[in-house]
Symmetry: C2
Subunit: 344 residues, 2 copies
């Protein structure tokens, strides 16, 4: 298993990317290709006491870096020598099994769609992070790749999310819920009402286990394994969770920092508090898979440290060996609305 890692993407690149990759090679038994400015990558290795890349680590030089200010839709084309473009070309050409980047989500999505291409029959790719929930995590799909969706896109997201939960999270018969503002099939907008019917059909034919609409509160508390949403709503959902976690984390800190007595209280529960903080930490989950793309592409969080890059590489290896892409490709016919059905 060989993972291609964008050494230059993210807030802490190349340092965290290189260190995370080195650790992954050591711990996970994978090989990595680090793509980026060779001299900068080597400098990080030297900091780590290495004179040259260790066994299992290869460097592929790429002189350019996609920056935040670059146009996400065209950056990969305008910067042909960027770590993003060079890395994805390596993936396309079969030089590695998956690609991991902590760079711009928009640029990665455009580049992956155009260089690697979508799975045949899949209309839109989706961002499918594993979010912390009461049932030990759920896949949310989509959370921002496609803001405006049709019922058919959502049908495809539901299938792909279900396969992800099964293959990557190891959930047998994943419970699929449609994010909505009430349980009844009549709730929400036309998009949710139409999608509900399609998901019900898919459930009846035994292809996914659709449990109906799920309200966002119940989704967080762990009612389902897969949360299906258009990219606009899914992003609102995800970012509200992040914001609330961050807001409550700050408030909790104030509680503990009030005086000497409360500081002692913090010491007594310090182990538990560390675990508590990790719940909402995106670095723990690893990265967000781009599902619907014909090879594994994983987006690590922009603020990834070495530990987060390590987690994203582990996740990439898991996706690459899971068979999910083959499974989607084989079943794509069941995820389409055929022309005669569209007439209805």
């Amino acid at each position: 298993m060989k993972i291609i890692v964008d050494a230059m993407g993210g807030d802490n690149a190349p340092s965290s990317n290189v260190k995370g990759a080195l650790a992954a090679v050591k711990d996970l038994g994978v090989e990595v290709i680090l793509v980026g400015r060779g001299e900068e990558i080597l400098a990080v290795m030297q900091e780590e006491g290495l004179k040259e890349p260790p066994a299992g680590v290869e460097i592929v030089h790429a002189s350019e870096v996609v920056e935040v200010c670059d146009n996400p839709s065209t950056a990969f084309r305008e910067k042909k020598n960027s770590s993003l473009t060079v890395g994805l070309n390596l993936l396309r050409d079969g030089k590695g099994d998956a690609f991991v980047s902590a760079g711009s989500t928009g640029a990665l999505l455009s580049a992956a769609t155009l260089i690697i291409k979508r799975i045949k029959g899949i209309r839109r790719a989706a961002l499918a992070p594993v979010i912390p929930t009461g049932n030990g995590g759920a896949v949310a799909v989509d959370v921002g790749a496609t803001a405006e969706c049709t019922p058919e896109y959502l049908l495809q997201f539901a299938f792909m999310g279900s396969y992800y939960a099964e293959h990557v999270l190891g959930r047998p018969e994943p419970r699929v819920g449609l994010l909505n503002i009430g349980a009844e099939p009549s709730k929400g907008t036309d998009l949710q009402r139409e999608t509900y019917k399609l998901l019900e059909q898919a459930d009846k034919s035994g292809r996914i286990h659709f449990v109906g609409n799920v309200e966002s509160k119940e989704a967080v508390l762990g009612a389902v394994d897969v949360i299906v949403a258009d990219g606009y709503s899914g992003n609102i959902f995800l970012k509200t969770m992040e914001g609330t976690g961050s807001f409550l984390g700050k408030k909790l800190k104030e509680v503990f920092q009030k005086n000497l007595v409360t500081k002692l209280g913090a010491v007594l529960v310090s182990g538990g508090l560390r675990a508590f903080k990790k719940i909402m930490d995106p670095g723990e989950v690893g990265g967000t898979a781009f599902i619907g793309i014909s090879k594994p592409v994983i987006k690590a969080h922009g603020s990834s440290d070495a530990h987060a890059i390590h987690s994203a590489i582990r996740q990439a290896a898991k996706v690459a060996s899971s068979g999910i892409i083959e499974d989607i490709a084989e079943n794509v016919d069941h995820m389409r609305i055929h022309p005669e059905e569209r007439e209805k």
Copy 2:
């Protein structure tokens, strides 16, 4: 100031409703009319050591109760003797200044719209709760009254939310943000892009202080005073906050209940923890105002205890004396897309 209180709506009715109302009369200097089954209301008063309603408290008998299983759109008509219908009729006829109910949101919305009517020119009413945020609270409008919206509805929500923040929360020049998945005007769906333009115009003409798109994370952390959203997205936002708060609350409890040492830690920070729990407690905020209705109607949380009913009555009195409804009515012409502009 006289507040009409639905004594029968909510999970803890009539006990909490009556007790909350009695306390409000004592503390806030308001009068109340309790609407519901007279004998049940009197029984609660007797529990409190009262043989008859004290000064400032009146009982208006209503024999029926709107139940969860009733059809929300027609319940008020089918149950003409319900506390909901009788109470709103009293409000319409000027027997009180505001109406508070902890009963079904849908039934209350339908009944308020049809009995009290919307302010002339306002196309849809909206639910406008004050949500806990990093800046001490923000008004979110709408969070579920109208799932499917047009740009004009959202323009009206923005104005009404801004007036609410100014008059009821006491924020001078409230910062109005459009809930979206990125800061740029091109983000989101057609609905957000079209609404952005309208809000920008309203800002340029000095009528509201539109600060642009706001991502849900920043909204929670306190970037704006008014969060404008269609009812579907606003509901996802609100319920995700509630769910995340509840989820993290449970996890925090686990941290403290682990063993004797952590339990001692909990004792040391107990005051702070109580304050922490209150942050996400809907009972603290009081109720959710229905904005756009021509008289003040406040929805208290379904699980309201006496304290929450007390808070909702306080809020109702505040809305009734704030002048917000008059302000909306006077400015409604600025909240409309005129026919010639629609052609564009």
